[in-house]
């Protein structure tokens, strides 16, 4: 049985695609690749994420992640002017402190010239932040 779920990642040798999925915050948004929602839209096809073979750690691991940079109040805005939610490739799967939060969607393991994909996110993601009085913002993907 195939389990077709949000944020399902498929990867070829040089690029990856991410199935439509939502980041649920004060608004619900699809992360972007470039300027296109990951699932595509009425006018544009599903975008591809160019994979960089140099973005691997010592264990040949790399991650397809979603990154959220909220506005000063910790919110996302509809037009993406004061905030940003995008899918990126990263050497490290998690960033939970600072202006930008990151969570993994899939692990990519370099095998020869290709990638082996291990899915991590299987649901839409709820996104919340906390702002301690004396510290940097924390990001949580629930």
């Amino acid at each position: 049985m195939d389990f077709r779920h949000p944020f399902l990642v498929t990867a070829g040798a040089k690029e990856a695609r991410v199935a439509a999925g939502l980041i649920l915050a004060n608004i619900a948004v699809q992360p972007l690749i470039g300027s296109v929602p990951i699932g595509g839209d009425d006018k544009r096809q599903q975008p591809v994420l160019r994979l960089d073979a140099s973005l691997i750690n010592e264990a040949n691991e790399s991650w397809v992640c979603v990154e959220a940079t909220p506005d000063a109040e910790g919110n996302l805005d509809e037009k993406g002017e004061a905030s940003k939610v995008e899918v990126v490739q990263s050497r490290h799967p998690i960033a939970d402190v600072g202006p930008t939060g990151r969570t993994p969607l899939a692990l990519l393991v370099r095998r020869g010239t290709g990638w082996q994909v291990f899915q991590i996110a299987m649901f839409h993601l709820r996104y919340v932040t906390s702002q301690p009085a004396n510290g940097p913002r924390r990001h949580f993907f629930l």
Binding site: M1, D2, F3, L22, L24, A59, W63, C65, P93, I94, D96, T103, P104, L107, V109, R111, Q116, F118, I120, A121, M122, F123, H124, L125, R126, V128, S130, P132, G135, R138, F140, F141, L142
Partner: protein, 424 residues
């Protein structure tokens, strides 16, 4: 459509109906299995049971499994050898052979070479420390195994032994057909920063009959050698819970340190003996394996921020004299005067509870994490019949019964709830 009497599924085949007709497949379809799905396998070379755990992730990282090159090769050969049967085609055999010789990793070197292998490379998880359940062990036999012939230990045997008496022959003889049961838990260990506390108590020179208690709160980082890893044995749930007051009873007598890790249970492997196995016997290839899954989804993990200690945050009814922030790994030092050791212990305990750095795991689902029946609030009805509550209780009982008679729940699986206190 009239059933075709010539097409009948048999062992190793599957019959499916669809809009185009019926199809008979010679091998089982590939079913989706959830992360952490566990199965046990007998390793003939090592003469031991091991588990295969489907890759699961914590914060995007796969836990490591400590094993040896010899075990890896033995498991590979056994596992892939089982996939080849009389119906396997040449291409399939060639593909499996490629995987068997290490297509997903280089496991060369002598058999004794110790390796830490990430879970996504499917290493065999050595199962150590099986605990006995049933006739020769714990009386807590799951209903699932009671239905399969696992008898409980004789009820009076322990009492007789404790009194120094000699048990009768009858009480030592298992019932005919009795089966033995062994269990081994598999869990994930996540390194973390831990809280430390040092307390000194001295007599107060200012107020007679009272003591001054100094409590220094600090943090300790997990050593670099401590990795996200798989552990096996008997999982102690209390290890992962917050400090309780019983455990804090000797706080004043010694330093207190939290553990530098959090843990979560993944699964339990059960081995069921053939009927009439001799009590105390060790599991071998004739035993049957079962796995009870406890984790079903990839996990996120986080721990609270270490906060400086402010005396006014913590003490209520006890006089706090000083609240000094310390540098380095220290979070703070507090001193207070108390006339009662109980008060001092309670105050120290409160500090540790408030400051605990115990982390929590959760399943990122964007919403609910349970498939349990929703609670129905009792409603008063003039005729005295509360249909809602009755139906709810009945459904709950039926669900519990189904759960007990099966080892695993069905989809949708339960997840770990997010701890809202992390947002404070």
């Amino acid at each position: 459509m009239t059933p075709d009497p010539k097409i009948q599924p048999s062992r190793g085949t599957r019959l499916q109906e669809n809009s185009l007709g019926r199809s008979l497949s010679m091998r089982r379809g590939r079913e989706w299995k959830h992360p952490w799905h566990t199965e046990a396998i007998w390793l003939p070379g090592k003469k031991a049971w091991a588990a295969f755990v489907l890759a699961g992730f914590v914060n995007g990282f796969a836990p490591l499994v400590r094993t040896t090159a010899g075990e890896l090769r033995d498991a590979r050969a056994t596992f892939f050898g089982q996939l080849v049967d009389a119906r396997s085609g040449a291409a399939e055999i060639a593909q499996l052979a490629l995987l068997a010789i290490g297509g997903t990793g280089d496991f060369g070197g002598p058999d004794s070479t110790v390796l830490d292998v990430p879970l996504y490379q499917n290493p065999p998880v050595p199962l150590n420390g099986f605990r006995p359940i049933g006739w020769d062990g714990s009386p807590s036999v799951p209903l699932f195994f009671q239905d399969r012939g696992v008898g409980k230990p004789p009820p009076n045997l322990q009492a007789v032994l404790e009194r120094g008496g000699k048990p009768s022959e009858d009480s030592l003889t298992p019932p005919a057909g009795n089966r033995l049961l062994r269990a081994c838990d598999i869990w994930v260990q996540q390194p973390r920063t831990a809280l430390t506390s040092q307390i000194t108590v001295s007599l107060s020179s200012a107020i007679a009959g009272t003591s001054v208690v100094d409590q220094a709160i600090g943090i300790r980082e997990a050593p670099d050698s401590q990795k996200l890893k798989i552990q096996t044995g008997t999982y102690q749930q209390v290890q992962n819970s917050k400090l309780n007051f019983q455990g804090a009873a000797n706080l004043l007598a010694s330093d207190y340190e939290e553990k530098t890790w959090d843990e979560i249970l993944i699964s339990t492997v059960y081995l069921l003996s053939p009927p009439n196995a001799a009590p105390g016997s060790q599991p071998d290839s004739t035993w049957q394996s079962f796995a009870k899954q406890s984790a079903f989804w990839n996990l996120s993990w986080s721990q609270p921020d270490a906060k400086p200690v402010f005396s006014t945050d913590i003490f209520r009814g006890i006089t706090a004299l000083v609240g000094v922030l310390a540098g380095g790994s220290g979070l703070g030092a507090v001193s207070f005067i108390t006339a009662s050791i109980n008060d001092a212990t309670q105050a120290a305990f409160n500090i540790l509870q408030t400051q605990s750095l115990a982390g929590t795991f959760w399943t990122p689902t964007s919403g609910g994490t349970t498939s349990a029946w929703p609670k129905v609030a009792p409603t008063a009805r003039p005729d005295g019949i509360d249909k809602g509550t009755t139906a709810s209780a009945k459904a709950k009982a039926q669900k519990a019964d189904r759960h007990n008679r099966k080892l695993d729940p069905t989809f949708p699986f339960e997840g770990q709830k997010f701890n809202l206190s992390l947002l404070k």
